[in-house]
């Protein structure tokens, strides 16, 4: 039964990864060249979806935190941990691809710009969540403290989004989700939206599989403790 589950996990993973690869192909061969930035803008089809996947992870952690406050269940924290790991991975990818894009466009790998700083803060919050989870003993206190941090992670996301309008930044203002509609070429927008959906799909798959691993590990620990007790 478990072998069948693992095979279907591999198959679904291959599906999500090939969907992502297909959107990358669209990014290179379907989307036209940007009039201002030239070819280098194609990094955006990796950078923006990674950011959206990281933001989606924060929403999941927020919901799990709310459930955790009510149920005080340790199991919900396993899923929050899995989501934080995936969120951190995608935030690192967002920062790295943004930095790689920044060098040929702005002439610098990094600047303490509001958008970059608040995104860096998101990475620190995700890392802090994982450290906190590991350092605290299982119990209601851990559920409570991690839940509070989970809410803080979620609060950072609208700040990241609004940072380019609240402060003067080097990072360009929103060109997709803005008042008055998108300023993007329809082909670029279509490709970008598909890339976001595909990347969120990959993120969801990673969370589900990592969460399942953590659950198996948890069962292993409780079963082995029970064996020692008997």
């Amino acid at each position: 039964m478990s072998q069948t589950k693992d095979s279907s996990a591999i198959l679904s993973g291959l599906f999500f990864l090939s969907t992502m690869a297909a959107t990358w192909c669209l990014a290179f061969w379907y989307a036209p060249v940007d009039a201002n930035q030239g070819e280098v803008y194609r990094i955006m089809f990796l950078h923006v979806p990674s950011a959206f996947a990281a933001f989606s992870a924060s929403l999941v952690i927020f919901l799990i935190s709310l459930i955790g406050f009510k149920s005080r269940s340790e199991e919900s924290l396993l899923w929050a941990r899995a989501t934080a790991e995936v969120g951190l991975t995608f935030t690192i990818l967002t920062l790295a691809t943004g930095s790689i894009w920044g060098k040929p466009t702005w002439g610098t790998w990094w600047t303490w710009d509001a958008r970059l700083t608040t995104t860096f803060l998101l990475a620190l919050l995700y890392a802090g969540y994982l450290l906190l989870y590991q350092s605290m003993a299982p119990g209601p206190a851990r559920v409570k403290v991690c839940g509070a941090l989970g809410i803080l992670i979620f609060i950072d996301v609208p700040i990241i989004y609004k940072s380019v309008t609240w402060w003067r930044t080097l990072h360009q203002p929103p060109s997709m989700l803005r008042d008055g509609g998108s300023t993007m070429d329809p082909d670029i927008l279509r490709t970008l939206l598909l890339s976001i959906v595909a990347m969120i799909g990959v993120g969801a798959w990673l969370v589900s599989q990592r969460g399942r691993n953590l659950k198996i590990r948890y069962e292993l620990e409780t079963q082995s403790m029970a064996q020692i007790g008997t």
């Binding site: 478990s2 280098v40 790295a96 790689i100 894009w101 002439g107 599989q209 198996i216």
Partner: protein, 65 residues
Amino acid sequence: MDQTISPNTSPTTSQPPTYGPNTDPTPYIAGAYVFGLFLILGFAGFILIERRHLRGLMAALKKSS
């Protein structure tokens, strides 16, 4: 004299630009996508290897009980 001035190149030097529209984007695009692939496939691979290891441990535990 006809001179093209890019944001970071002096008209007196012939060094390739390090940023701006005349920069060769290939290494940057390749670097970003290779890093993305490495990170995502690395994480997915780690999960699947860990799963196999955990299933092995679970089977051993069931055998010993």
